[in-house]
């Protein structure tokens, strides 16, 4: 026994445990950088075995202290330091076991008296809207069906005497709900399989997009028809848009035309400005006006207050510039943009002469079969059968084109992005199942349950924030998962939330909430302002401003963190002891002896 204590209390063990902890924590923080904070908390810091490792440290310090008993005079510093650390760790343990932490989201004018905690409960809602919560950690949950619960009309002033539903045929009974499986981040996953020759035509293509520069590596399915997802023929992979469409020929592009219309609305002349053989001056019928020095800029842009043609910009912006000269040789310079007819009203330059005619400039926008998209777009074009072509473009510029070969990878022509078509189908069949979401991103909490009394007695998937109906012989109950709540000994009302900015900026200087705290039992009512860094304290609870919402429809809401930390006094006393002890140890009379 003594030898074990000696081993556990030795400096060698201290160093061993320190090094082990260091390595463990390096791994944990690296994993956190890759997989995110919730992952690290779940996989390391909140686990039992991690508690055990910290407990080993406690045991090591405890044993090393016990070993020095009875204490000699030169060990006072040691004793104070190490018992301080023991107290600190004990306090941490108490907080871990008995601490309360949760969130309260309150909209302006609302009152709440419970906090939301990190766990979840199974909620069953009965026809009378009564809700019963049960602990999700139990494998088997019994839900009591009472007459009242099954009576949908009960709570609202019954005009007729209460009709007891199922009082004779279905006596009050318990219904079993068995939890079969829990998936924390579940999403509906689409299954795409090849249909047989009789299956309806439904094209589908599976593509993997890869880019190192954009840190993208995603595989997606594009599907022509999917009853659950109407946008299944389009998908985003980071900034890259992927889409599929049937083979339809685009209409030819419209020519850029300058229309000259007289006051009566009759067209005098239509000039195709892309025609290179235009005369230097063009008479406008009998109006006495002449257009001179007409210039056409398909890619017009303004640089240093001058209009220039800038095809490198690749932004189609057809414009014409010309001088409008009247019979008295008064010349007015005119600029017309095909896509911005209102430009003129912003820069009024119309003289009396020019007002005699209306000049409109029209040019076809690039024929967009695909919706306009500013980024990289990869389209897959399919025909009646199963032969596919691909086309990549960036804004208006086509980059690459070719036939799709399943299994081959093709550079998209922008950045280092490349895409690989895995398979194509002309008669795809779609089905859905519930599975953990990919890369653990998104998804909701889901539980698979069986209810033997239900008809049909199937596996039901129950989700957070969505009610799953379960039909029983006696009536229908609705199951869902809801965050675990904990009642507080007080109610909190948010009167007003304010975000105070630094002058002249949108940057917050402070978040403030005016609240009223009411404790009906102790007959306490407090009116306070909770400010970041200045929490409201009541009965061992601390209420902090931790976040806020400003929803244009729902209004403003404050998110408060409410916590109770019973270990704090222990931690503080332990810390002070440890520091004082260390100072005494290093600078007190003992140190001189050691040196």
């Amino acid at each position: 026994m003594m030898s074990v204590i000696k081993k556990l209390g030795s400096v060698g063990f201290t160093v061993m445990i320190s090094v082990a902890l260091i390595l463990l924590l390096i791994i944990a923080t690296s994993m956190e950088a890759v997989h995110g904070t919730p992952f690290a908390q779940k996989a390391f810091y909140q686990t039992r075995w991690f508690d055990m490792v910290v407990a080993l440290l406690w045991i090591n310090i405890f044993c090393s202290t016990v070993l020095r008993f009875p204490f000699k005079q030169g060990q006072i510093g040691f004793l104070i330091t190490h018992s301080g650390i023991l107290l600190l760790l004990t306090g941490a343990l108490m907080t871990r076991m008995y601490g309360i932490e949760g969130e309260m989201t309150i909209f302006e004018g609302e009152t709440r008296n419970a906090i939301k905690q990190s766990g979840y409960a199974l909620s069953a809602t009965f026809p009378n809207q009564e809700e019963v919560l049960s602990d999700l950690r139990q494998g088997n949950i019994k839900v009591a069906l009472t007459r009242e619960r099954l009576n949908a009309a009960a709570p609202f002033c019954p005009l007729e005497p209460k009709k007891a539903v199922g009082d004779r045929e279905h006596p009050e009974q318990m219904v079993d709900v068995n939890i079969v499986n829990i998936i924390e981040k579940a999403s509906e996953r689409r299954q795409v399989i090849i249909g047989d020759a009789q299956a309806p035509v439904n094209h589908a293509i599976e593509v993997r997009v890869h880019s190192q520069q954009l840190a993208q590596d995603t595989a997606v399915w594009l599907v022509e028809h999917d009853t659950q997802d109407h946008g299944a023929d389009t998908a985003m992979a980071g900034p890259i848009k992927l889409m599929m469409r049937p083979d339809v020929r685009p209409a030819p592009a419209q020519q850029p035309i300058l229309h000259i219309v007289d006051q009566a609305g009759k067209e005098i002349l239509a000039i195709n400005v892309s025609d290179t053989g235009l005369a230097k001056s063009i008479r406008l019928g009998k109006t006495g006006l002449t257009i001179k020095d007409l210039e056409y800029y398909p890619y017009a842009t303004v640089s240093a207050n001058k209009l220039i043609n800038f095809p490198e910009g690749k932004r189609l912006n057809p414009a014409v510039v010309f001088n409008l000269v009247d019979a008295k040789k008064v010349s007015v310079r005119q600029v017309k943009f095909a896509f911005f007819p209102e430009f003129e009203s912003m820069h009024p330059q119309v003289s009396k002469t020019a007002a005699r005619v209306q000049i409109k400039f029209e040019a076809g926008k690039p024929q967009a079969v695909e919706e306009p998209f500013d980024g990289l777009q990869v389209s897959f074009v399919y025909d009646q059968g199963n032969s596919w072509k691909y086309r990549t473009k960036f804004q208006d510029k086509f980059l690459a084109e070719g036939n799709v070969v399943a299994g081959a990878c093709v550079p998209a022509g922008w950045s280092d992005a490349e895409f690989c078509v895995r398979q194509t189908m002309s008669r795809a069949q779609i089905s859905y199942d519930i599975a953990p979401s990919e890369n653990g991103q998104g998804g909701v909490l889901a539980a698979a349950v069986t209810v033997p009394a239900a008809s049909p007695a199937d596996v039901f998937w129950v989700f957070e924030g969505r009610r799953t109906p379960v039909r029983l012989a006696q009536g229908e109950i609705k199951l869902s998962l809801v965050p675990e709540t904990r009642a507080m000994p007080f109610a909190l009302t948010l009167k007003q939330f304010r975000k105070v900015d630094y002058p002249g900026t949108q940057d917050a200087a402070s978040y403030e909430s005016d609240v009223v705290l009411v404790d009906t039992v102790r007959k306490v009512s407090l009116e306070r302002t909770v400010v970041m860094n200045h929490p409201l304290e009541y009965d061992g609870y601390k209420i902090f401003q931790s976040s806020y919402f400003n929803d244009p429809e729902a209004g403003k809401a404050s998110v408060f963190t409410v916590s109770k930390n019973p270990g704090i006094p222990w931690i503080y006393i332990g810390s002070i002891l440890a520091c004082l002890g260390a100072i005494f140890q290093f600078y007190g009379p003992e140190q001189k002896k050691v040196a």
Binding site: V11, T14, V15, S18, V19, L21, I22, L25, I26, T29, E32, A33, L88, A92, T95, E101, Q212, L214, A215, Q216, G238, P239, A304, N305, E312, K314, G375, F394, W414, S415, Q441, D501, Y502, P503, G504, D507, A508, A509, S510, Y511, M532, N533, H534, P535, K542, F544, T561, V562, S563, N565, I568, I571, Y572, S575, A578, C579, I583, F586, V594, A595
Partner: protein, 521 residues
């Protein structure tokens, strides 16, 4: 008598440096509201130019001159090739000239859609708690630069007309001062005779609606920006180190003189920042590095003067200069900024940060002494007495550092408990502080149980400091997650890798030489 001459010399030196700065009351002093604070135009211009181009000057012009003269024709901002775009792959995507060199707004905006596509994709990733790729992060930075140039072009950021809460820009307001400012800008642009008077008049006019205290702070900030105290300090520290190398007494005296002058500049800089911001300058990476450096120099001073160990002065000065250099090299924000709500008005936070950086400075000094010790022992020089002094100093520094680190970490917990009700949450910064604590604690336990000799103690002091570097820089810049994100940034890793390579080479050199020394004996 000697001391009086010494002090007078240093005073004269600072007057010589400071006089031209103090004597000028030029356009630099025009008050402007920027990032929630009233500051001198020079501060606004330098911060903005630094953000756009990564430089303090532009083609021989100061930032103030560049901005004020171009405001006469704001569209010139769109053609000025002064926007920095670092990433070669991004330059290629934006079809910019591939050879390095800054580019103009127009050049970038011809590929606006590409830039926006990247920025949007980065935002999507952040929303999904993923990290954007390097090229996307760079695109975000470039986009920020572009928006700043846009606000110069539109004049939106030139908020120089005093008003109740939100100051007005002469380029977006029709009030009388607007015309006056435009005239001022024009006079400066064409170097009209008497433009000094116009500026003087503007300053007098606009100062009427500013309190005396704010006027004083504007003046202090103008001096801070013109005088660059930390830049001078690092040069002086480095100079001091070099002058302390030879054995001639007068050269060494000059070295000491330079270090003292550097320290005074350093202290002045900290006091200026404190005065301007009305808070201790310990709220971001740059400020903590500079403040930690000051504490380091105070510690060096204590060891040199009180404990009579003059041999450590040069090591201290060198490390101090290097930390200052790193504060300039790393991509940390040097501007004087207002605080986010969570950092405001918190007594515990200030105490926490100052205690933590005190521990870092003690560990840094221990590391410096360890290098000196290892270098001398590799060359077989130190006498046993010298060796003992080095080891004793390292041990003392590590002990004090460990107490400060432990206390500082706990104070951080106290602050966290006060600010959001959680003492400890295994946030990466907390975790790494704990790792560092465990590391140094293990070293001290091994030393105490006589399992580390002097040589091993010195080597451990160097390894321990690598943990500090990881906690301080690495958590924010390499791991890039967690609550302490107000210090977050990216980049600068190259410089840290150079440091690691240097340490590896140094230790290899020491081990090889020690082996051959041992054989020789």
């Amino acid at each position: 008598m000697k001391k009086i001459i010494f002090a007078a010399g240093i005073g004269l030196l600072w007057v010589m440096v400071a006089y031209p700065v103090l004597a000028s009351a030029k356009p630099e002093g025009i008050a402007i509201q920027h990032h929630g604070r009233i500051k001198p135009f020079s501060a606004f211009a330098q911060e903005t130019l630094q953000l756009i181009s990564g430089k303090d000057h532009w083609q021989g012009q100061t930032a103030t001159a560049l901005f004020l003269t171009n405001l006469d024709h704001p569209q010139r901002f769109l053609d000025l090739p002064f926007i920095r775009v670092d990433h070669p792959a991004l330059r290629k995507l934006l079809s910019l000239p591939l050879e390095s060199g800054n580019v103009s707004y127009q050049q970038i905006m011809s590929a606006e859609e590409t830039l926006l596509a990247l920025v949007r994709s980065a935002a999507d990733k952040r929303a999904a708690d993923k990290r954007p790729s390097a090229i996307e992060q760079q695109a975000e930075t470039v986009y920020q630069r572009v928006t700043v140039v846009q606000s110069l072009f539109s004049g939106a950021s030139i908020t120089v007309i005093p008003a109740e809460r939100v100051w007005l820009s002469p380029f977006q307001s029709a009030e009388a001062p607007a015309e006056a400012f435009k005239k001022l800008v024009h006079a400066l642009a064409v170097k009209a005779p008497g433009c000094d008077l116009v500026v003087q008049q503007w300053i007098v006019e606009s100062h009427r609606s500013i309190s005396k205290a704010v006027q004083f702070r504007i003046e202090m900030e103008r001096i801070y920006y013109q005088f660059q105290p930390f830049y001078l300090a690092w040069i002086f520290y480095l100079g001091g180190f070099i002058f302390l190398l030879p054995r001639q007494p007068w050269v060494r005296k000059t070295g000491k003189f330079l270090i003292l002058a550097g320290f005074l500049g350093h202290l002045t800089g900290i006091i200026l920042r404190w005065t301007i911001l009305l808070r201790p300058p310990v709220a971001n990476m740059y400020e903590t590095m500079i403040f930690m450096d000051l504490i380091l120099m105070v510690t060096v001073g204590v060891f040199v003067i009180v404990r009579k160990r003059p041999a450590f002065l040069s090591s201290g000065a060198l490390v101090s200069a290097l930390i200052m250099l790193y504060a300039r090299l790393l991509p940390v924000d040097q501007s004087l900024d207002v605080l986010t709500p969570v950092l405001r008005s918190s007594y515990w936070l200030t105490v926490h940060v100052i205690t933590i950086i005190s521990s870092y400075s003690l560990f840094a000094f221990a590391m410096a002494v360890a290098h000196r010790h290892l270098f001398l022992s590799a060359r077989g020089k130190p006498t046993p007495h010298e060796e003992q002094i080095s080891a004793d100093t390292i041990l003392r520094l590590l002990q004090a550092g460990l107490i400060a680190l432990g206390a500082g970490t706990i104070l951080g917990g106290v602050w966290a408990n006060e600010a959001w009700g959680r003492f400890w949450g295994w946030d990466p910064k907390e975790t790494w502080a704990f790792i560092t604590f465990l590391g140094y604690m293990a070293i001290l336990h091994l030393r105490h149980s006589r399992r580390l000799n002097d040589f091993a103690l010195a080597v451990s002091a160097i390894f321990g400091f690598l943990l500090v570097v990881m906690t301080w820089y690495g958590v924010n810049f390499v791991l890039g997650r967690g609550l302490h994100s107000y210090g977050t940034g990216s980049g600068g890793l190259t410089w840290i890798i150079y440091f690691l390579i240097f340490e590896a080479v140094f230790l290899a050199f020491v081990f090889i030489n020690k082996k051959s020394n041992n054989k020789g004996r």
